[in-house]
Symmetry: C2
Subunit: 377 residues, 2 copies
Amino acid sequence: MTKAVAAPDRTCVRVELGERSYDILIGPGLIADAGAQIAARLNGINAAIISDETVAELYLPILREGLAREGIESTDIVLPAGEKTKSFEHLIEAAHGVLEARLERGDAVIALGGGVIGDLAGFVASVVRRGMRFVQIPTSLLAQVDSSVGGKTGINTGHGKNLIGAFHQPALVLADTAALDTLSEREFRAGYAEVAKYGLIDRPDFFAWLEDNWPQVFTGGPARIEAIATSCRAKADVVAADERENGKRALLNLGHTFGHALEAAVGYDGRRLVHGEAVAIGLVLAHEFSARMNLASPDDARRVAAHLKAVGLPTALGDIDGDLPAPDILMHHIAQDKKVKRGKLTFVLTRGIGQSFIADDVPSSEVLGFLKEKHPQ
Amino acid sequence: MTKAVAAPDRTCVRVELGERSYDILIGPGLIADAGAQIAARLNGINAAIISDETVAELYLPILREGLAREGIESTDIVLPAGEKTKSFEHLIEAAHGVLEARLERGDAVIALGGGVIGDLAGFVASVVRRGMRFVQIPTSLLAQVDSSVGGKTGINTGHGKNLIGAFHQPALVLADTAALDTLSEREFRAGYAEVAKYGLIDRPDFFAWLEDNWPQVFTGGPARIEAIATSCRAKADVVAADERENGKRALLNLGHTFGHALEAAVGYDGRRLVHGEAVAIGLVLAHEFSARMNLASPDDARRVAAHLKAVGLPTALGDIDGDLPAPDILMHHIAQDKKVKRGKLTFVLTRGIGQSFIADDVPSSEVLGFLKEKHPQ
């Protein structure tokens, strides 16, 4: 297999998973160059591109052109944009589309889009013919630093988010940093919450670097590539240590137990709260709750809140538009979250910036008391 | 983990797959004993039992009782009997049932039934919460010697059988040989085709033993346990060498390329032809086609046909009730089969009894010519 050489303004992060290892290429122009990058790694394949209406309009023609140049035949499956697409209904639609194109096991499913498309397309790739090859071309910051890396795929059901899915690693991830220029400010900011999260998990120097350099990350250029590469490296390290989330991988859920409960509390209404915003509030709450449990200094929680606020992210329950359910309803959503093990609450807590850890046995009474304090009503 | 001791009339076959290794216990009374066997291996779990209406009526109460005795709480999901249950519709129904029961990743999905239930329940176990534990309690001969071993799970779509699924190994297989006494003669015979297949793949001595001992396999007792254990061992060896079917595992498809085409040709109408019957005809055709290609002696094909006929299985296209589509339509079904690689026909052929091999480049003109010769009209 020939290896395509990375252009000088590109970074390559390797995810080490034995025979399932793969590269994440990060830099501008990778959508146009995807055909060459894929052809250099996956020999003689054809492909199905799964995308959404918004992203397809911007990038599908240029991707197909690049694939065609390399002799890769492609079919496209364009789905509605939005979280509702992560459903059984669209899984079935996309799977039938791949079968209709008569693709075989050695062929590839390519995800072109944000986290929703990546999660759905990865699940399609994992179940059609019991597992096809999979290439991620994430076009949102959230997808580039989080969902496209690590092999978690899935859809939502009435019982909750991501409850149906598979672990299915991509063969290649192409993060085109220029594609982020077309994101709304709000969407970029939401993805940034996950970037900051990696600093808070175990990279205090990265968090400090972000406090100084975040404006350049938003503007684009080398600082953006650096922030995305560091985030991917952080996630890749955790995933390599615990691919199927039996232990350490749960650290990636820092801020997410509170965050998921808030998303559920607003009925997953993206006008009120998108995932990254919920994570931003969740990160602050996780630090505040850790301080309340005398595990960390309240100064750390204040520092986290100050940075996320500077960036323009919400940091408190009161920052969410409209009424929130009462604390005991929020508590119910937390208990519904899948990180509950045998009836006990599992939380990612912290001893300070970059010192997070998994706590297996958090008393729900403490969490409820904390939510009552933090609730704006 | 404590290991339950096998009773003297039980055999244990180990499937060696590293950290995914598991035991197949074979013998009478294992449904009643399932609670104890599961509790000895999977600590502190709860379970969802997926079954069909026919099997549930016979065995669900005794299984639940045994689980309850060991403190394993169980919920049951009972689906209609028959191949049509291997659908997205019932996958969704069963997955919701498991989530409704609030089971977690460490809990188990138990398949109680034949191949349809095993394939569906295994797929449910693989996708709910991105992978739960899975226990197979196969109640048909076909499921005991074939589908319950090796981790292939899946459902059918309009494009074909088993085109959507996953590789998901069980944690334990309990083959209760007494349960086979409630099978119809026709269903037992159909499963027997897969037993004979293992002899034909690479165990000529086993095939010869079957020629002498098949009546005792049908009656029950030690010969039946022996035949099932040898079949499981044969399959386990192939699966251990090639878990995800990148090579050698395709040998298990001996007789299946023709067989699947025949099933498709009768519209999967089980009144005309069930899977094992299609495999029986397919085994004979594979030997006859190998003879036509001058790879094996026609005597071997005659010997295979004679044995399967003695058992009461169909062995020729003319044995199928009603009209068959023309040879070129049968050819179309063969080309649709998923063992087609990059447009070329892949077949399992043979050089004689127990000497099968994978042929990658079989000319479709030869296959079509052969079908024209064999076609009854």
